[in-house]
Amino acid sequence: MNDDGIRVKGIGPYLFILPMVVGISIFGFYALFYVFRLSFFKSTLLTSEYVGLDNYFYIFKEKWFLSSLIHTLYYAMWSVPLNLLVGLTLAFALYKKMRFGTLFRFIYLLPWVSSTVIVALIFRYVFNPEWGLVNWFLGLFGIGKIMWTQSYLLAIPVIATMGAWQSAGFGMIIFLGAINSIPKEIFEAADLDGCNEIQKFYHVTIPLLKPIIFFYLVISLITAFQVFDAVYAFLEGVPGMSSWAIFTSPVQICSYFIYQVGFGMFSFGRSSAMGIVMFAVVVILLVMQKFLLGKNYNFLGRN
């Protein structure tokens, strides 16, 4: 394992990495440079004019972008704990050799394999105030019709719930993998010390899983900041939903905002500036993750 590869003279190895290097240079680095440059321009499809930092002033002066940032945070606030809770619970329910275990895993993964756009179509229907399944179910308990998608306070948790429903299987697989890689001897030792199931859970399983739980939290957080498909499919076709309506729509989420300002209103400069600001937020999150996890992180805490 420790060997560092064979020595080869000449350009051979560089030819192997060439396709990847060229592709990433164009669609990664050049694109990044391009979007950064564009954020200093007032740019439509046809014209382009240098405006300095105007786009950045614009997005911080007008409250829309900041409010969409708050909405995104609000979404993350719902989606991250929900994802974690569902994934962990499923993994704990399934990690022992259970009958039909494969079948259950298959069922829970089905939503993950389905595309978010179609899942969102179903959930819009399920949460429809008049004919939706959820209000029908609540009606059985005498609860009146709730307008799920009228205000962002409710609409965003609904989208977050859909996200948790969809990624439940993903979380489960991640945590199952982690639980199964805990050495059996640790549990046997705990048994010898007279631990019961609950003690084992709190004093052995949870502490050992801490790093992976943290890892999953960070993944969910970053995914939450990039949510797009779900919001798009939830909003598309809402009556009066022109591109300008993002400023009044109940669900303003950053990535959707960036998309609409760019491809709905053709203000590519402003859209780029928003993208750069959001990217900075994501980078800060990632740096925090590295900082909190430390360098020699291993998800079982062993080296």
Binding site: M20, F123, W131
Partner: protein
């Protein structure tokens, strides 16, 4: 202990119902005569296929499925190939600047999708690739996650094996095609499947590149259904049902690979 197990199964079953019910709801609505169903039915009675027929004849689902399959297939194969070429070099060969290049490339993994859509759109416009297949699939080739993953796998190949092959007169290219590719078939297949599912369901990039109806992928086509049908839920669900069939078939055949592929995420 027995009580706990019963409880466990009960939980699993309840959650399985939660996971499946929206699909079932979609299914019954798609075969319903009414534009929506107001309470759950076990079997849609009367069984009505009008909504399905209506939707199938009005939209080019076959074309959309073909588009999606073509784009996804080329995207996933291309990504696996480009990534395995690079991963072989990064893992098995020592050359100048190797680690630096690798980590610089790897840093692109943090670039979020919403940041890349505008500049890539302009690049595609310059190349004249808007509304074409290659405009969509080419960007999916250059995903460093795949390289990272394969490199982890190739690192376990010992240099002795490769050196022995070299003494036998094997060129690097032959080593790659005759040794590396055959021995890493399972991991390549897993990677291919997981990338396939991801690209198949991707939306943000295709919706920007593809404009004309004949070029649309399933996700792009389906995203417009609410705008077209408003509250005719049976037709919306009929469309959803048709577009889910291919990927669910793939899932049934490759469930094991998909599960393994998801666990790869742990290693990154």
């Amino acid at each position: 202990m027995k009580l706990k197990l019963t409880f466990n199964y009960l939980f699993l079953i309840v959650f399985a119902i939660v996971a499946l019910f929206p699909f079932y709801w979609m299914f019954t609505t798609a075969f319903s005569q009414h534009t929506f169903i107001s309470d759950p039915q076990i079997i849609p009675i009367p069984f009505y296929s009008g909504a399905i027929r209506d939707v199938v004849f009005r939209h080019s689902f076959l074309r959309w499925i073909f588009n999606t399959a073509l784009i996804t297939g080329i995207a996933a194969i291309g990504n696996v190939l480009v990534a395995s070429l690079a991963a072989f070099a990064f893992a098995c060969i020592r050359f100048k600047g190797r680690d630096l290049i690798f980590y610089v490339l790897l840093s692109t993994m943090i670039l979020p999708g919403f940041l890349m859509i505008v500049p890539r759109f302009f690049i595609m416009a310059k190349l004249g690739w808007l509304d074409t297949y290659q405009g969509v699939f080419v960007v999916f080739w250059f995903v460093m996650f795949s390289t990272f993953l394969l490199r982890q796998y190739y690192l376990s190949i010992s240099s002795d094996t490769l050196n022995a092959a070299r003494i036998d007169g094997c060129s690097l290219w032959k080593m790659y095609t005759k040794l590396i590719l055959p021995m890493s078939k399972p991991v390549l297949l897993t990677l291919f499947i997981i990338r396939f599912v991801q690209v198949w369901n991707s939306f943000l990039w295709p919706v920007i590149v593809l404009r004309s109806n004949q070029m649309k992928t399933l996700t792009v086509g389906m995203s417009e259904f609410y705008g077209i049908y408003m509250t005719e839920y049976n037709k919306i669900m009929a469309g959803g049902l048709i577009s889910l069939i291919p990927i669910i078939l793939i899932f049934i055949f490759f469930a094991k690979q998909i599960e393994k592929g998801l666990q790869f995420q742990l290693k990154t």
